[in-house]
Subunit: 272 residues, 3 copies
Amino acid sequence: MSNQFTRLLEVVRAKKPLVHHITNYVTVNDCANITLAIGASPIMADAVEEAGDIAAISSAVVLNIGTLNERTVQSMIVAGARANEKGVPVVFDPVGAGASTLRNSVAMRILQQVKVSVIRGNISEILFVSGLTSNTKGVDASETDAEYDAEQIASDLASKLGCVVAITGKVDTVSNGKRTVLIANGHGALSSITGTGCMCSSLVASFCGAAPESCFDGAVAALLCMGIAGEIAHEKAGQFGSASYRIAVMDAISLMNQGLVEGRAKLHETSC
Amino acid sequence: MSNQFTRLLEVVRAKKPLVHHITNYVTVNDCANITLAIGASPIMADAVEEAGDIAAISSAVVLNIGTLNERTVQSMIVAGARANEKGVPVVFDPVGAGASTLRNSVAMRILQQVKVSVIRGNISEILFVSGLTSNTKGVDASETDAEYDAEQIASDLASKLGCVVAITGKVDTVSNGKRTVLIANGHGALSSITGTGCMCSSLVASFCGAAPESCFDGAVAALLCMGIAGEIAHEKAGQFGSASYRIAVMDAISLMNQGLVEGRAKLHETSC
Amino acid sequence: MSNQFTRLLEVVRAKKPLVHHITNYVTVNDCANITLAIGASPIMADAVEEAGDIAAISSAVVLNIGTLNERTVQSMIVAGARANEKGVPVVFDPVGAGASTLRNSVAMRILQQVKVSVIRGNISEILFVSGLTSNTKGVDASETDAEYDAEQIASDLASKLGCVVAITGKVDTVSNGKRTVLIANGHGALSSITGTGCMCSSLVASFCGAAPESCFDGAVAALLCMGIAGEIAHEKAGQFGSASYRIAVMDAISLMNQGLVEGRAKLHETSC
């Protein structure tokens, strides 16, 4: 089954799509480097005067509200709208949705004004976006929320919004409302470093930029790559500490290839 | 003596306190990663519309003026005030105080409007905050200032403001006005990488968030961990260059444990 | 020939010049660390209320428009003007010039209002600044633009603006309008990580800050160091992936010495 997804890795590397990010300043360097590592090309531009222009020349746009402010939210709306006009896929990462009134209202505003192709978040964030009660504590998923039925929630939200929903966690869930795929790759050590969620969104956008007609497949491929990189990194550097592990994750993404992904993929398609 | 301090490391790891940072964009990724590495959970949020909300759900707040601007200073005041209301400890890092009129006035304004639990800076910054003449050149301590009597200055400022004062340098000094502890751990290589001061403040806040009733002990524990990590990193990676050293510092924090700290701690309590 | 340039490395390390950056938030941490690694001292400060004050106490100023916005552009103009008054060299990095109307107009505005000592960019950016048509796609040089005659373009722009122009690429070109030097060091892997252009600008500024009377020599020395670091890093870590390579580049800068640079320098002075 995995070939449908893994073939896209070579497409990213062949097309080198330009991925416009309006994102937080905490993990932005990691996002730029992982975009390069997977084979795409990052550009970060958040001035409202150019956000639309840059979105228009890009192959995908990431809107990440990790350190949102009034100025950048406006730019996100402009970039998203322009991307919609041009048919450029938009990946939305509702970082910390549920943690403050501002994030909640901005997340809703973006979803009202921008047609997104993929939403990627942890279970707490996606619960909030779904209009369900979440127990978000900061930017990490709460343990209580982890007991929710991610498959159902992803599928319902995907159907409601007509987009792909990717919930990352111990097992990742990707749904377009019709099909739902579970990815059992990854390693707990990924939560010991900052930015793995943001980097997943950059990877998803890299795949969507390379194959905009296949955002569902691209989201699966992106999360497969990240999960497998997390495993390889743990094998290579897990015992050396969190910074060595972080380097090893990025290294593994840069060295990822289709055979490696197919050999390690733990995919399961559900029929919900 | 060190057990009083080192026991707190396990408290951080057990409680995983949420540490809200309003900090500079230069070292923010390092701050997030070191907060995770010590066992706490970072959140960065500087929009004035949410700074108070996030502070209210956090266990500690870091205010770091490294790349301050009008917008974020306002957010710092709001977050600090809300933290005060909620009894959440505030760690203030007056990066570059003394280097510009803006930084000077903002540092003073924060100290007037926010009750801080800990101030952490280099000798030049703390001299300025103390109302003494400093010779700050940028964000690093000036060599002339290093000749000041850090113990006396820390103790006096701590008494004056009713908080803990931590001066980092070749020897670190932590005082609450009554007790003053010197920490002779660390390595000169720490000054070859950016962000070690900011990371110290994040560590201090992680400890204060886990044990808000013990901010003095927490500040000592945090600086012990950083100093020892600097030593371990030098032993492991000192000869490989500054970036490898930086990775090794973070690795060492993530692998730190109470026994390691107690075995290496070079603590001295003065009676000034 | 190389001694004229390489001798400056020891000058940087002896003088430890303060280098003020108003730069993008994507690569700012890398810029700070490479400034330290080469032996200078970084300070980042972009509030308009302090940009002039900080520029005035600095030895060099970097203006980098990678993630420009209205607020920081104003600060760049203020810092640049104050640096000009004080005789502090200004290094301008027109990141992404040509990619949006905003970047184009800001690049022109800075060059009209600030006398810069060095402009450092890729061929697409420098073509745009030269008033020629470029095919910029985002922040990386377009392949079409790579066919232009970099020597002629650098020399013409240097003469027109009365400054040093440095075009980085497969071969780097540095011209002051009278002399033009080509540097054939470097490695293709440098384009697999973000920030190498920005880091080059920080290195150029570090050298210019240490020897403001020799900005041409300093620019050559800086690009030599980066190119050679790129080669050494590839030898050491090329096969481990992009993040390990990135660490190795920074390590190599921190361990660079005059003998190493002279032994590896591939310099060629043209007579255009």
